[in-house]
Amino acid sequence: MTSSPHPLRPNALSLRIPEPKARPGEKLDFGNLRLSAAGEVARPPVDIDHTEIRDLAYRLIRVLDDDDRALGPWAPGLSVEALKRGLRSMMLTRAFDERMYRAQRQGKTSFYMKCRGEEAVAVAQAEALSPDDMCFPTYRQQGLLIARGYPLLEMMNQVLSNEQDPLKGRQLPVLYSAREFGFFSISGNLGTQFSQAVGWAMASAFKNDRRVASAWIGDGSTAEGDFHHALTFASVYRAPAILNVVNNQWAISSFHGIAGDNDSPFASRATGYGLPALRVDGNDFLAVYAATRWAVDRARANLGATLIEHVTYRAEGHSTSDDPSQYRPVEEAAGWPLGDPVARLSRHLIAIGEWSDDAHAALEKELVELVRATARQSEAIGTLATGSKPSVREMFEDVFKEMPWHIREQRQELGI
């Protein structure tokens, strides 16, 4: 961060405009990242008083070390089966992203957003939540849908806005909705889902049920008022919610410091509301799972909400409309100190003797093939370019439960 040029007058004030440490062509510098070693951070019981664990907001929960071993009290002891399931979902997410990105480049749809580098945040969390817990995601948690078994074909049909688009041509490609899979309708307006999740969690408590809500928000979007409202209401009503901040370091072209990560990490926001906060290595599948599990258990025990900051990195452009080389060094992704979540989990499975490079390559091939086959199926139904889309009547449906006279008239005006 550089501050403004030295003011002319003595003792004059000056405005700080935070700047990232490195712009394109400059040397990488991750000196600002607050790291802890794997296994180093203590794991409190889930019923601990929040006042006793304020320091967790400033540490970094990590399980996997540089030798790919799982260390310390947060090591979740997940079964090999669960680990392999997680690896598969992350890899499938990545293969899906690649294919859909290409589809956009080929003009088959208008827009796409990848989550490369952040797959663990969604997939490990899906593993830690129960199927009937509700997710309130952003556009970068497609991994939740994939981990929860939502059909790839449906996702693709939406991305391609074809005749079988489950959202009937009304939504942008990546803004999914899948009630049956516990996945709330994604809004294009940032932040709104955060307080909504708290309301859903309050409803579960109101009904004396046992379901919890989990919400995700980007580092940049924490600046929206909804973030504050979510924390406030979650604190006041002790809502059983998991409030995830996905700190992938960038909000389009703005680095995390512009969202207020200069002087205190996002996790620490929670402590002032009387909520516990965990700061976790978001590229460490085991750590994300363990932290989420802790928060879920706490919420389910009627002890209220937890904020989790996932420290990760947006390894690609913001969306198909973005070119990150304009504002950050191209080497930044490769240099990211917390590595890649897929590679790390794969190496861990190898380290514990349950996986191999060959198995990995084979799985990758299988998944790419699966995605390709499904994509062919979806493209055969149609793409935005072929124009085989849902009936235009759908444009006028679902504004209200029953169509009022003025919409019926408008539909007629369009001749349908």
Binding site: L167, R179, S195, M202, G225, H229, F233, V399
Partner: protein, 337 residues
């Protein structure tokens, strides 16, 4: 059957709703123990429990945000925004979320939320306790907008709104909470008990959304109004000595277009009255609709009587408020045209 003022009628509606449906809950600023600054929720917490009617932090966007989540869970929230002037912080949640949830999720998730809020002037509330915000919601696809003008309708419309599967912005003309107000601020206030619409059934009933009421039959000119203005118009009609047909819209959107066009085709003249700032107010839409559909029946220009295009100024309450004199002048003007 009891005699109720508008507050009592609204309270009774909420009592009925809480009693009949365990998924109904009420929240807002000061609505719990205290029962709301206008006392609309008085006694409901005590009767139905802390969790059925409770206070919230002062964060209108937060209120609406949590209500979206609750509705998605299957609850049916009634949210009070203390004054309509304070609904703006929640505008994004209402416009981008509440209004669009059904559409964008292709019906997977819905937001049957009723947003109650006192609106309008006539109480020396100054700029931030007097505004009429209806047009900011009629422009938003996916919202219904309801405004009652008397106790009977208030209860029946509120029950219908909450039982409706679509979100409703339910605006309450606060000036007539305690009695009908014809705009003659210098005359004694008359209580609701003297008005026939204060006879309100104790139990459950609905006044259907989308249906206007004819507040006065007439043949010279059609006057479109809602809320407090219905009473002002009725007074003005008498004073102008014009045989006006006064239509109380009750539901602003989707509006009862047949009631409007039927009447204007009969009378050939139309005056539209509202408290909100004139420019881009709901009167503009009404004027456009009438003109589009009754062009060949119109014998005079459609006139609008509305609040001035200024903020609502404290000391000029009665210069700002579109009272009976201004309405009567418009009636005469349209008859002379």
């Amino acid at each position: 059957m009891a005699t109720m003022n508008m507050i009592q009628a609204l309270n009774s509606a909420m009592d009925v709703l809480l009693t009949r449906d365990p998924n109904v809950l009420i929240f807002g600023e000061d609505v719990g123990f205290f029962g709301g600054v206008f006392r609309a929720t008085e006694g409901l917490q005590k009767k139905h429990g802390l969790e059925r009617c409770f206070d919230t932090p002062i964060a209108e966007a937060g209120l609406i945000g949590i209500s979206v989540g609750m509705a998605a869970y299957g609850l049916r929230p009634i949210v009070e925004i203390q004054f309509a002037d304070y609904i703006y912080p929640a505008y994004d949640q209402i416009v981008s979320e509440v209004a669009r949830l059904r559409y964008r999720s292709a019906g997977q998730f819905t937001a049957p939320i009723t947003i109650r809020s006192p609106y309008g002037g006539g109480i020396f509330g100054g700029q931030t306790h007097s505004q009429s915000v209806e047009a900011l919601f009629t422009h938003v696809a996916g919202l219904k907008v309801v405004i009652p003008s008397n106790p009977y309708d208030a209860k029946g419309l509120l029950i219908a709104s909450v039982e409706e599967d679509d979100p409703v912005v339910f605006l309450e003309p606060k000036r007539i909470y305690n009695g009908p107000f014809d705009g003659h601020h210098d005359r004694p206030v008359s209580p609701w008990s003297k008005h026939p619409a204060s006879e309100v059934p104790d139990g459950h009933y609905r006044v259907p959304l989308g249906k206007a009421a004819v507040a006065r039959e007439g043949s010279d000119v059609t006057v479109l109004a809602y809320g407090t203005m219905v009473h002002v118009v009725l007074a003005a009609v008498e004073e102008a000595g014009v045989d006006a047909e006064v239509i109380d819209l009750r539901t602003l959107w989707p509006v009862d277009i047949e009631a409007i066009t039927g009447s204007v085709r009969k009378t050939g003249r139309c005056v539209i009255v509202h408290e909100a700032t004139r420019t881009s107010g709901f009167g503009a839409e009404l004027s456009a609709l009438v003109q589009e559909r009754c062009f060949y029946h119109l014998e005079a220009p459609i006139l609008r009587v509305a609040g001035w295009d200024t903020p609502y100024p404290h000391a000029f309450e009665w210069e700002y408020f579109p009272g009976p004199a201004r309405v009567a002048a418009a009636l005469k003007r349209t008859m002379e045209a």
